[in-house]
Symmetry: C2
Subunit: 300 residues, 2 copies
């Protein structure tokens, strides 16, 4: 608290507190750091706190990073993570798969600044076009709901959606995980997209970084393998996408480009890798994209 007093005296606006508050010997699992900080800032009126139990803030524009060798290529995704481990991991994993960040905030136990504060910030942040979230619990559900409707795509991975996960969340960030159904309903109503895994968060973030949402759920699949066509048709159907009927004009145009044997000219289009030049493949995509029944094309 001495350091916080000094920060306040110097006019520091925000402090990031890395220290964890968990104590594996204590019956409550904590040694009370959170309470000390809460009491201090409620009396002293500042500074604002990120943490405790976090790894701080990454900002690609300014170069502030979790570690000196952290990936720094800028992108339009902001990541708000209650887990420091996932904050760093998504940065590293992202660098391997083409996912780039504007900022990453690890905010841990959230004794002061919490998810809705960061959502409000990223709504205004011009470097950010997509907001990814890992959250275990929030103190103010109503404010969270309000700030989730940020007019930018918000992707949320909620940790602690099972009973055992919720117990682990209480140990980890002292979060009350809340009801899984309540969270799903809230996210749906707010127009946020719920994902269920680390990879889900990563790949959905990439999708929203590069693609505009299609006008409806009609897709065409273009595959260079018959098995790929079958598996993609299964996956799309399971996920509620409509494998639309191609128009006669499209079918006839495809017949002039796709080889006759070993292929299938319907949706999915099985165009056979071996028989198709890169130019012909582009032409196939161009033809399918110009079909008015098709809102998006998946190339397998």
């Amino acid at each position: 608290m001495k350091v916080l007093s000094e920060c306040r005296a110097k006019g520091v606006k925000v402090c990031v507190i890395f220290t964890s508050d968990s104590d594996s010997m204590s019956p409550t699992g904590t040694y009370g750091l959170g309470e000390l900080i809460s009491n201090f800032i409620s009396k002293a009126g500042g500074p604002r706190i990120v943490g405790p139990n976090c790894i701080g803030v990454y900002c690609s524009r300014s170069g502030v990073a979790f570690t000196p060798n952290f990936p720094k290529e800028p992108g339009k995704v902001a990541f708000i993570s209650q887990s420091g481990g996932f904050a760093a991991e998504l940065g590293w994993f992202g660098a391997r798969i083409g996912l780039r960040f504007s900022k990453i905030v690890s905010y841990g136990n959230a004794v002061d600044l919490d998810l809705p504060d960061f959502l409000a910030y990223f709504r205004e942040d011009s470097d950010t076009g997509v907001v990814a979230v890992y959250v275990e619990g929030v103190k103010d559900g109503r404010r969270t709901f309000k700030e989730l409707t940020v007019k930018k795509p918000v992707l949320v991975w909620k940790g602690g959606i099972t009973e055992e996960g919720a117990k682990a969340a209480l140990s980890h960030t002292q979060s009350l995980a809340g009801s899984a159904t309540l969270w799903s309903t809230m996210l749906k109503q707010a127009g946020a997209i719920q994902v269920e895994s680390f990879e889900g968060l990563a790949y959905t973030s990439i999708a929203f970084s590069f693609y505009k949402p299609p006008v409806d759920n009609s897709v065409a699949i273009v595959s260079v393998s018959g098995g790929g066509a079958v598996a993609s048709a299964d996956t799309c159907t399971r996920e509620g996408l409509l494998i639309t009927r191609l128009s006669d004009t499209t079918i006839n145009a495809l017949r002039r480009v796709v080889p006759r044997f070993g292929t299938s000219i319907r949706n999915p289009v099985d165009a056979q890798r071996g028989a198709l030049s890169p130019e012909a493949c582009s032409e196939v995509l161009r033809i399918v994209l110009s079909d008015l029944n098709v809102s998006a094309v998946i190339l397998v």
Copy 2:
């Protein structure tokens, strides 16, 4: 058919026919190659046929491969694939993730040899300990069911389980995909494990290559990140695993190794990467594995 006659005259036992039977201009989607082959072998009594519409056979022991640069490190997984694309892809993908094969068979339209024939072969093959399958349809369901109970783990990815997927399967390998429910029930009754994606097949195959099945569903999670502990607890619970209570002996032993602050000594064990040496991490695993309530440990 001339070549097949010559093969028969020479005493060739098995022919692999790569040629596809599909014709995108024909109303039935085929030009009748399958029927020609069927008629020939039913009259001539041989040779046996793999295909048509396949890419043949890979055998790590003999070095027969799909392409000269195909990965050749031997392993105990056999892959029976109705898709040539997936046969090759799983070999390549496997090489990147540590999945090695005894043999891979791409068998396409299966006018003669079909899934049950290959299952019967791999039951006896001493190089094979795990059988992975990609199948779109079979001609003889009853025989397939019988051969699925091969006393080795059999992992099955069924393509064409949705209406659109089934249509694509008909175009691809002229397979009647059959009812999704019937397949799931058959696989379950036969003791085979159904997976739903390429990655699912790959990673489940790896798991069965390296691990013996645990005696029951009681698991312990050891995590070096709090978020990892929460997410793993959610995943395990969703998948029907029991996050068991650790014994007092285990808890006390862990307290001597795991740092007091920033950790959580319960199941999941949140042991904090930063605070733990590799030796201490091994010791944590040893302690948790010796708990009689724990049948398997997941390290996150």
